[in-house]
Amino acid sequence: MIAAILSLSLLGLILGFGLGFAAKKFAVETDARVAELEALMPGTNCGQCGFPGCSGAAAALADGKASPTVCPPGGKALIQALAAKLGVSVDLSGVADEGPKIAAIEEEICIGCCRCLKDCPTDAIVGAAKQIHAVMREACTGCEACVDRCPTGAITMDPVPITLQHWVWPKPLSEGAKAWA
């Protein structure tokens, strides 16, 4: 009885030390920031950044190969969040945030082929075979994944109209610039 307890405890102790040693010795080096950055990204893997998905973009950001302005669907909010996480400063006034765009389907040309809806990363396009498809504006991120898939060129990217609810006071011209001009 005592011999069994002792031998098992000893075995556990030896194996535990072994595992601990292996974890230290053979640890795979990963940048903890990559996971944090990836959590900030939209996660739709649309590919507009030119990297393989959001995780690829996050890795490139952590390596310093990409600037925080890499993600067009993220907009200014994402740029600021990424810059804060990376500890770099970004001049937002230089960012051509020409406003978000979303996909629109020209119903006259749509043939109901279902190709675009298979490619939409957020399931924003609804439709069925030989039925006209439609974009749910609220779900579309403007990633443009669908545009090239359309055999008839029925999908266009339209700017999101500015409404009363979305309008923002423009930034006043800097008084210094005005006074010393």
Partner: protein, 517 residues
């Protein structure tokens, strides 16, 4: 008093009376002119959103005949308000019109072509509001489309419901009207004191509050006298004159002036047991409960140097500013048109803008009144710091915003800014400080919306990935199942064939044995 005692007093009571500004109020002679009524315009353009919250949903059709007070659009969502017809006539369009908003963007509106009869819809006779449960009173106020008439246009019934839940003990009626030029509340209190008092009593009933205080700036002695006379019969209602100072009409500042307490930065007056409503709202509540009349008109101040006959005027909701200006006749072409007060009102791009429930005034200002100066550099005189009624540092905040550091401005208390414009008013360098703060608040809200959108997109993408994985798995399972079935079938067929062969063989054997025997 020694220096230390002074410092202790400062720490205990705060800086005290050093907030706000004293602009020339320019309320008279408009405030003293008798109330007039706007002749019914040919067409009224009633916007679907005249309140904080979601726009109302139209329930009428183009070509339909409507009567005054008929429901045109019903509230949708938790925070919204009903919209009623402001006159009788025909719906000729459901389209768009320029919103009374600084952006000059269009908003959805229902156009009524008036038939000239201005006939009210038949409604059931009004019941005694005091025989109703507080909840039912609030429901009737909601049905009448009453919103806060002080300017924020928050649906009143919701606010009363909030008060009922928060168990408030005092109702404060805001008759401050601290904006220069405006006198619509002053005129209302002078001409409809009894109606306002009745509305206040109904609101007391709806919230369960024990007493009501009416705060009126002391530059309106006639209104104070009229309201005091009307309130004499009711011990629970008292009139409290307060010092004239801008922005006394701000909810939290009037509350402080009347109770001596201060509302915490992240709190509301209801947290301290007090609900604040505008006096105009009390009048609208009286109309809704005693006469079954929804909110379809309001008193609007017409003022400014370019107006020949300044004064107050009853305007149906949806009348265009050009109709009102035509009635008041202009002395000269105004250099600037403003809806609301000069401090917080919005610039109108042109005169084809409708009057809405929250329109307190229309100002036609001359070039001398609307003088605009080019901004200069900040000289760090800290005039804005002394003027800020919330105790912020406008000069520091605007510097952060100018450098696109919005979070820095938030750390300095941007979210507590009430956009009253005191800082811009006193700035000797004419820096558009409040413009910076409005810009920053809008920008932060836009960033918040984008963040919400991105989160939603992430959820959708995750759901899609999960679905695709499930589909592939189910397909593979189905394929495996079919294969297994096929195999089983084949095996069964094979077994059957073997059995048959065996039987046949046995049969043949039997036969042959028979033959042999």
């Amino acid at each position: 008093m020694g220096l230390m005692e002074k410092i202790f007093a400062l720490l205990e009571h705060g800086p005290g009376e050093h907030w706000g500004v004293h602009p020339d109020d320019r309320k008279r002679p408009a405030a003293d002119a008798p109330l007039r009524v706007l002749p019914l315009p040919e067409r009224l353009h009633v916007p679907l959103q005249q309140h904080i919250g979601a726009a109302a949903r139209p329930i009428v059709l183009v070509g339909q005949k409507v009567l005054k007070g008929q429901l045109l659009a019903e509230a949708q969502g938790a925070t919204s308000a009903n919209i009623h017809a402001s006159t009788s006539g025909t719906i000729t369009a459901i389209g768009e019109i320029t919103a009374p908003h600084p952006s000059g963007l269009p908003c959805a509106a229902i156009t009524i072509t008036a038939d000239g009869e201005d006939r009210w819809i038949d409604s059931e006779p009004a019941v005694d509001p005091f025989s109703l449960a507080p909840k039912d009173t609030a429901a009737r106020i909601a049905a009448a489309g009453v919103v806060g008439l002080g300017g924020a246009t928050f649906p009143s019934a919701l606010k009363l419901g909030l008060g009922l839940r928060a168990k408030i003990h005092t109702l404060i009626l805001n008759g401050g009207e601290c904006e220069p030029y405006l006198s619509c509340d002053d005129r209302l209190m002078r001409d409809f004191a009894a109606e306002i008092i009745d509305g206040i009593r109904i609101m007391l009933h709806a919230t369960g509050a024990q007493k009501a205080q009416i705060g009126i700036e002391d530059n309106k002695p006639e209104a104070i006298a009229a309201m005091t006379a009307a309130a004499r019969k009711f011990a629970e209602i008292s009139v409290c004159p307060v010092a004239a100072r801008y922005p006394m009409g701000s909810e939290k500042h009037l509350f402080s002036a009347l109770t001596g307490q201060e509302v915490p930065a992240d709190g509301r007056t209801t947290d301290l047991g007090v609900l604040v409503h505008n006096v105009g709202t009390a009048w609208a509540v009286h109309e809704a409960l005693r006469h079954n009349r929804p909110l379809v008109e309001r008193i609007v101040t017409l003022n400014g140097g370019a107006i020949a006959f300044p004064g107050n005027i009853r305007v149906p909701v949806g009348a265009l500013v050009e109709d009102v200006l035509a009635y008041a006749s202009l002395k000269e072409v105004p250099a600037r048109l403003v809806m609301g007060g000069p401090m917080m009102g919005s610039l109108l791009p042109h005169t084809r803008v409708p009057v809405v429930k929250g329109s307190s005034g229309i100002l036609a200002l001359t070039a001398a009144e609307a003088a605009a100066y080019d901004p200069g550099p900040c000289i760090r005189c800290s005039s804005c710091v002394r003027a800020c009624p919330v105790g912020l540092l406008p000069l520091e905040m605007s510097a952060h915003i100018a450098a696109s550091d919005l979070n820095g401005a938030v750390d300095l208390g941007l979210k507590d800014c009430i956009a009253c414009g005191c800082c811009s008013f006193v700035c000797p360098s004419h820096i558009p400080l409040v413009h910076y703060f409005n810009h920053a608040k809008g920008e932060l809200a836009a960033q918040g919306r984008t963040q919400l959108r991105n989160d939603a997109a992430k959820r959708l993408a995750a759901a899609r990935a999960e679905r695709i994985e499930r589909d592939t798995r189910e397909k593979a399972e189905a394929a495996a199942r079919r294969k297994a079935e096929r195999m089983a079938q084949k095996a069964a067929e094979k077994a059957a064939a073997e059995a048959a062969a065996a039987q046949e063989a046995a049969g043949t054997a039997a036969e042959s044995s028979e033959v042999t025997t």
